[in-house]
Amino acid sequence: MINDMIAIISDHWLLLLIGQYPNGPLGGLANTLILSALSIALAFPVSILFALARLSKWRMLRWPVTALVYITRGVPLLMLILWSYFLVPLLTGADVPSFVTMLTTLVVYQGAFLSEVVRGGIVALGHGQMEAAKALGHSYLGAMRFIILPQALYNMIPSIISTFVSTIKDTTLGYVINVPDLTFAANQVNNQLLTQPFQVFLILAIVYYAICWSLTQVANIIERRITRRRAGETRGPAVPAEPRPIALEQP
């Protein structure tokens, strides 16, 4: 079977890697990576804005974003994708490329999930840090940027990374609206071969696993580096002065 898989890869590697490109749109693994990277890069700042809006004292900001987050979290992603795919062109008359539809939907969906993680990290810090910042004359946004968020985001690294990983996995759903990604390419290969679905989709699984595993590893390295830096040069393990607030972990 391993031989079959090697044969599939050597015959179809270009399709799996870049899709029909340059004769058609960019697809395959390249497109999956681009879609994942863009989704994560956009969802992360969006999630911070959502979290700040949900913690805002202004109702005009808090209520709509809270509603958006509740609705988004309560609806399956696939349904959201189909909605934006069929409804947006119907309402606006614009011909939106499926890649853009997929990207926007993923950013809103994962941004909503991630905003709850970020918000949890901020709330778990307690009032003391914000009060200390205010007493020193920091503005609210200045305190958020230099004092609250660096701590909240650091404490939430594991949950943030697991959301990033699920973002990568969710790009596969682009298949249903014909985003030419890796899953789409694998399905094309399978349709050509017809007899080896197990081998084709095992390759697919291995590739996704490798991408997500690498991301987790990178995150672990970053986390360890920050922890080591904060432990400083003095010998012995650092003893936290106050018990660290328990992070609201995502399962």
Partner: protein, 255 residues
Amino acid sequence: MTQSATSPELLPAIRLSNVCKSYGDHPVLKNIDAQVARGEVVVICGPSGSGKSTLIRTINRLEEISSGSITFDGQNIHAPMPTKALNLLRSRIGFVFQNFNLFPHLSVVDNVSMSPVRVKGVAPDVAYDKALRLLDRVGLADKAKAYPAQLSGGQQQRVAIARALAMEPPVMLFDEPTSALDPEMVGEVLAVMKSLAAEGMTMLCVTHEMGFARDVADRIWFIDAGEIIETAPPETFFNNPRHPRAQRFLADLRH
């Protein structure tokens, strides 16, 4: 001698007029009228739950008040104002918390130098040098590169004092600065506060350290059930308290 009565040098540093605060029906501060002169050290004491901490937190508006006014340098801190103006006022009032509230993600020297850079726009290298000098002053020059989690409680509180001093505030407020410390660390923090007082810093301090109050305070405010019921110099307060509630408080302390 020729200065008019309204010149800023003669105004009290802090003046509280008719300050009231209540949570719903429950009053926590009742008609507080008091003032702190420039260079004066005032110790606020009283039984727990009497409103001491609430009172000191209203002075930099960490707590809102229901009515009355608190002026600092002639400006009413509780007047409606743009947040920028409030932040500026706060940056000129040093505040030391019971739980230190150091920023755990920053090294000690960054804790001290960050706010001058971010709030006042001081050049980073200038702020850094100043932070080192302040750390030296509180006896922690060798801990500049350490992180707060590596310090003892007493050391953390001394860093917190240096952090507040870095903003060069004309007034320092202390909210039970030694209450969260192990007994053997209280002395080092009080020593720093004593040296500050000796240099003429205007200080307002909520504390249970009666020895400190006796040695350092110019005046004691005794507060009970949200009211200042006695203000007196320490000798008078400790030897001849007038109010029966203050007499009972001091008697309880001796046991």
